[in-house]
Assembly symmetry: C2
Homo-oligomer: 85 residues x 2
């Protein structure tokens, strides 16, 4: 079904969206302008997605959300440990 | 079904996650540390989600993605128009 494949591609794209921000923050070590609440809320929301994925036993949903939770957690860690400025 | 409700809550939470970043960028007018690629990729991915939502005629999916596309487009606009620094 083409809709399901489209949904999988959409999920993969939105899951990967945080990567450029993680790379930029890691390279520049500047995180002043980033709101910590975006990754915090995303991690919370993606934990819900993960539970949902486990409930319906949907492997792409589980993998995509595990990956995104890891990336957003890295961003939260950088926001906390890099000096602002 | 509890899984569907959990999925709806998860979608609502992840859709709202960008709001603090939009508010912070708007108030501070500082966007240097934000990667423009995160909202750009998110808008692209959410357009796919929107098409998927229209195909399966899922109102929560359509509404959540319309809202998120608008918020991320606002962030892209701020990234382009505010001076960096």
């Amino acid at each position: 079904m083409i809709a399901t494949q489209l949904g999988l591609v959409a999920g993969a794209v939105t899951s990967c969206a945080v990567i450029p921000q993680v790379v930029k923050a890691y390279r520049s070590r500047h995180v002043r302008d980033i709101s910590v609440w975006q990754p915090v809320i995303l991690v919370f929301g993606m934990c819900l997605w993960l539970v949902y994925g486990l409930m319906i036993r949907d492997i792409p949903l589980i993998v995509a959300n595990f990956f995104s939770i890891f990336c957003n957690a890295a961003l939260i860690a950088m926001k906390l440990f890099y000096r602002e400025g």
